[in-house]
């Protein structure tokens, strides 16, 4: 007894400790903490020393602010972090969906937040409907980097083109002229060193459009104006830039082959100029300390030259998700970690650490003027070139504009990228590409407007009705039961029903129920945080209307991979199985080598394949071999719109060995007599294969085709991994319907739209399979024995 009581007491104590500790935890998502994050650890340590009742827990793996799907899932799932490091331009997006907590009450209580210290561009981004949803931390603006040494070397060429080699281009036409003059081609005319590539560094369409005076949105924010003449002009200019340096496809290949850090193309003089963010100064200071370069304002359109600097800035902020458990602690951490005092602690520790490793320290720009001043005074890079560049970047901050502030910011961002890709690849004209993008953004803006008008939907009534209906069905079924079965059989029938219960419950609860629920919800707008609204057929209208091109593209991708990969996989595995089947004891030894890859986690296969097919011949296995043996410039595989899908097929081919097991089992069942009889009759091995073995295997072939296509249509894991979670790939060639659904569902929590996609997919799958069954009548040998 005494022992039991003691154990109970210990259990209670442990439990209480656990509760107490849990209450003190501040869970912070975002900052990636590695062995090198000495500064961040110093700040965290200081915070915990001053607030002994709090313990910080950083989630550094996987759930950073740059993974919206993960964050949204956690918030909706009721397990959010207390603080999230969030990219600022998306704050509105999250605030509008009710995913973040407004901070005004906390700011009002606190004198530490000195509003005046923040740059306007940064602060504006945190406000949605006049409430503040985040505290800005870092800031990054964009400027033109030009390789001064390279300009000097090429001074004769530049002078010959009438250009001044001692300064950077200031206007668009100058940028084009410099880029043309500095572009180097090999004997076959292929560009080996571009003068300037828009996709190297960090500029995006936003920069060129802003310079051209674009606003992207109507003043009240209700209409998207992405297809304005200013933006079209900017996209036209981007296209010219690509043409000037060897075309878009070549630019994609070059960008994929460029390295990072020491191998940075600008540091190595592989591009003469780039537009990039301030962080690039830090990279150059560390990896190319001797490089002589300059930083200049991004060039302006010719008719605007001479006006003030135009650039855009982004950056991060700390926010508190809705449902966070420790708001008080979260706010303490936010105010402390953004203060100049904490910054000094962080930078001093980090600088000391870098010094001990023989590396230069680069503080980065802040969204606060006082922190910037501290950086410039105490932590600026020591080399004159880098110091000058750093000072210039700080100077440009006050001219910078934020990205458009709208709840559709993420869509706008994604769509402008897609529009550039469409236009630059020649898939459509710049205007058409931008109109498509504009329509997509407008649809989202309209959905926000509509959601606030439609009456909320009550989900309780249909839920109760559904449960009552199911209960009624069971009662009716049970009522019939004794009449139809004699007493002898009744016991067996009862057990039969009991035995299938696991499946029945699972089917009703995890398959049929969800299907019905998703059908119902596909006629509503709901994000699981705010009240649902009736939406009629608008989700289907969108999927088969404005979004049809992208949805069809995803279907085309899986159709491509399926119709190439399924037959190829069948052919390979069947051939190997035939070889194995006739090799006696060899089979036992060789079989595992072929079958093993199909048992590996798809994620591991994709991660491995990403490196096997790495574009850089020095690092990728296949391209190293291609370049070494055939002296050709190898494809960029997953980074190329032409080769990305074949790359997926090749990865699938490696994993297709599982089918060998099926073939071998099938081959064993074929009666050897038939084969021998044919051999005696003088049939050649090929004839026997064609007219005896294959017809006998045809039901298995059919099974494999059906299963193969069902699998191909549902591809997800590997596409997710090879695109780094972005899911689209070059020119959307790696987008799959499942990813499209996943992104709508878990990235944006548009539950209704996801339901519409799911049901459409289901019907398509049904049609494809029905068609396969219809065609199978023509070629599958009927079973004799069943």
């Amino acid at each position: 007894m005494g022992k039991g009581r003691l154990l109970f007491a210990i259990a209670c104590w442990t439990f209480l400790c656990f509760i107490a500790r849990a209450a003190e935890k501040i869970i912070v998502w975002g900052p990636s903490l590695g062995p090198d994050s000495v500064g961040m650890r110093a700040v965290a340590g200081e915070f915990e020393r001053r607030n002994p009742n709090y313990r910080l827990e950083f989630l550094s793996l996987g759930a950073g602010g740059s993974n919206p799907q993960k964050l949204m899932t956690a918030i909706v799932g009721g397990t959010p972090p207390d603080v999230i490091d969030q990219e600022r331009f998306t704050l509105n997006d999250w605030a509008a969906r009710g995913a973040f907590r407004p901070l005004d009450d906390l700011i009002a209580h606190d004198s530490l937040q000195s509003r005046g210290q923040f740059y306007d561009a940064a602060w504006q981004e945190t406000v949605w409907k006049s409430r503040v949803y985040g505290i800005p931390t870092s800031m990054d603006d964009r400027a033109l980097f030009w390789n001064r040494a390279l300009f000097r070397r090429e001074s004769r060429t530049l002078r010959a083109a009438g250009l001044d080699p001692t300064r950077a281009p200031r206007t668009w036409s100058e940028l084009l002229a410099y880029s043309k003059a500095l572009t180097v081609r090999d004997s076959s005319g292929r560009v080996t060193r571009p003068g300037f590539l828009p996709n190297v560094g960090n500029s995006w369409l936003y920069l060129y459009a802003l310079e051209n005076g674009a606003t992207f949105l109507s003043p009240d924010g209700s209409r998207c104006e992405l297809a304005s003449s200013e933006t079209v002009g900017a996209l036209d200019f981007l296209q010219k830039l690509y043409v000037a340096s060897g075309g878009y496809e070549n630019a994609l290949g070059l960008a994929a082959s460029f390295g990072k850090d020491e191998a940075d193309p600008f540091a190595r003089g592989e591009v003469a100029m780039k537009i990039d963010g301030d962080w690039a100064v830090g990279g150059l200071a560390r990896y190319a300390p001797d490089l002589d370069y300059g930083v200049a304002p991004p060039p302006l359109p010719d008719d605007r030259s001479g006006s003030s600097i135009v650039t855009w800035s982004g950056g991060w902020s700390l926010a508190i998700p809705r449902g966070a458990r420790n708001v008080e602690g979260a706010w303490r951490w936010i105010t402390f970690s953004t203060s100049p005092e904490a910054k000094r602690i962080e930078w001093a520790a980090q600088a000391e650490y870098e010094r001990s490793r023989g590396r230069p320290f680069f503080p980065g720009l802040s969204a606060r003027k006082d922190v910037d001043a501290l950086a410039l005074a105490e932590f600026a890079p020591t080399s004159p070139v880098a110091r000058e560049a750093f000072a210039r970047f700080i100077g440009y901050e006050r001219y910078s504009q934020p990205r458009p502030i709208t709840p559709a910011a993420q869509t706008l961002w994604d769509e402008q990228i897609r529009a550039v890709d469409r236009a630059a690849s020649g898939a459509s004209t710049p205007r058409r590409a931008l109109e498509l993008a504009q329509a997509a953004v407008q649809r989202e803006l309209d959905a926000f407007a509509r959601a606030s008008k439609e009456p909320p939907l009550d989900l309780r009534a249909p839920t109760i009705l559904g449960i009552l209906g199911a209960a009624l069905g069971v009662v009716l079924f049970a009522a019939q039961f004794p009449r139809r079965y004699a007493r002898v059989r009744a016991a067996e029938a009862r057990w039969g029903l009991v035995f299938i219960l696991p499946w029945l419950i699972g089917f009703l609860g995890l398959t049929l129920g969800p299907m019905v629920v998703s059908l119902y919800l596909s006629f509503a707008d709901w994000n699981a945080l705010t009240a649902p609204h009736w939406a009629g057929g608008s989700n289907y209208a969108q999927l088969w209307g404005e979004s049809r091109p992208i949805f069809l593209k995803s279907l085309e991708n899986v159709a491509y991979v399926g119709s190439l990969g399924v037959p190829l996989g069948l052919f390979t595995s069947l051939s190997i199985a035939l070889l194995l089947h006739g090799s006696g004891k060899g089979q036992k030894w060789f079989r595992p080598a072929f079958v093993l890859p199909s048992f590996l986690p798809s994620v591991a296969v994709a991660a491995l394949w990403l490196w096997i097919l790495a574009p850089d011949p020095a690092r990728g296995l296949v391209n190293g071999w291609l370049a070494g043996t055939f002296h050709v410039s190898p494809p960029a595989w997953f980074a190329s719109r032409v080769w990305s899908r074949p790359a997926i097929v090749s990865m699938g081919l490696w994993g297709s060995g599982g089918g060998i097991l099926l073939w071998l089992a099938g081959l064993r069942r074929i009666s050897p007599n038939l084969d021998e009889a044919a051999a005696i009759d003088g049939a050649s091995p090929w004839q026997r294969l064609w007219s005896i073995t294959l017809p006998q295997l045809s039901p298995l072939v059919f099974y494999s085709v059906v299963v193969g296509f069902i699998g191909a249509l549902q591809q997800f894991d590997q596409n997710y991994v090879v695109t780094g979670g972005a899911g689209s790939g070059p020119g959307d060639t790696l987008l799959t319907p499942t990813y499209y659904l996943f992104n709508a569902g878990f990235g944006y929590f548009r539950i209704g739209y996801a339901g519409a996609i799911g049901w459409s997919l289901f019907l398509i799958l049904l049609l494809v399979t029905a068609a396969q069954f219809a065609i199978s009548k023509l070629w599958v040998r009927a079973e004799v024995d069943g």
Binding site: T73, W495, W503, P592, A593, F594, L596, A607, L608, D717
Partner: protein, 269 residues
């Protein structure tokens, strides 16, 4: 004849080597610069994951519970469909087969909402619990196996007055150990390899499973192939081991039942 046979073996050997090249390359890359890569790869992981041990542990828990659930539930259900007469058997079985055609993505969203209301988010439960509700493929496979068993024993047991559960447990189950073994192995592999579930339902590093950790690792260490390959080698090793140990059971299992599945697809759907 003999020359042909040797030729065949040489071709097979060459192809087998080709099939292993990616794995060999992974191993080779992981050793570029020495064994230090292996410990360096683990240094990066968050402290609370105990150098990745926690991922491993979670994957084992998920796989073990999934195997238990799948073997128990699908053998019960399959036996009922193969051997017991009950009202609605035929159309229920048709329903089961048709459910294999449902794209799993279509049910993800409502399932997430269900798990949320059960408080299962950020726990391992949603990764193994569904296995207790008899997956259609396993039921399909095991039903074929039960059908292929001789009926005489069943009938004898019935005459002796054995109840249905006793017959199931004493007579039917012992006869299809190999097939259950195959179900166990491929359930284990599938549960171990699953990615979408962990991606959706897990947040904390201490709850993550190995494949999810691989993806996160790959994302975070995108530029260090040596470390990534070392991590991959460690992550893939258990699967390779299980595969080599149980490949015979798998092969026999497929031979036993999957074949009939495949051939009966026509007549059943």
């Amino acid at each position: 004849m003999k020359g042909r046979r040797i030729f065949r073996l040489v071709v097979l050997g060459g192809l087998a080597l080709l099939s292993l090249v990616p794995l060999l390359w992974m191993l080779k890359t992981s050793l570029r610069g020495g064994f230090g890569n292996y410990s360096a790869a683990l240094d990066f992981l968050p402290e609370e994951t105990l150098r990745g041990w926690v991922f491993f542990q979670n994957s084992i828990v998920v796989a073990a519970l999934a195997v238990l659930g799948a073997v128990l539930s699908s053998s019960l259900v399959a036996y009922a469909f193969a051997r017991l007469q009950f009202p609605g058997r035929e159309w229920l079985f048709r329903l089961l087969i048709s459910s294999m055609l449902l794209p799993s993505a279509a049910t993800l969203m409502p399932q997430f909402l269900l798990y949320r209301s059960l408080g299962w988010i950020d726990s391992l439960t949603p990764l193994w619990a569904p296995a207790f509700f008899a997956g259609a493929t396993n039921v399909f496979f095991l039903r074929q196996v039960f059908l292929s068993l001789p009926r005489e024993l069943d009938d004898a047991a019935k005459i002796d007055g054995c109840s249905v559960p006793t017959t199931f447990w004493r007579i039917a189950i012992p006869q299809c150990r190999a097939a259950l073994g195959a179900v166990a192995v491929w359930t284990a592999v599938a549960a171990w390899n699953q990615f979408t579930g962990p991606l959706l339902f897990l947040n904390s590093p201490s709850k993550m499973t190995l494949p999810y950790a691989i993806q996160l690792y790959q994302g975070a260490r995108a530029d260090e192939p040596e470390l990534l390959m070392a991590f991959l080698t460690m992550a893939v090793f258990p699967i390779v081991l299980v595969f080599l140990l149980f490949q015979k059971a798998l092969f026999e299992g497929v031979r036993f039942g999957a074949l009939r599945d495949a051939e009966n697809t026509n007549s059943n759907v």
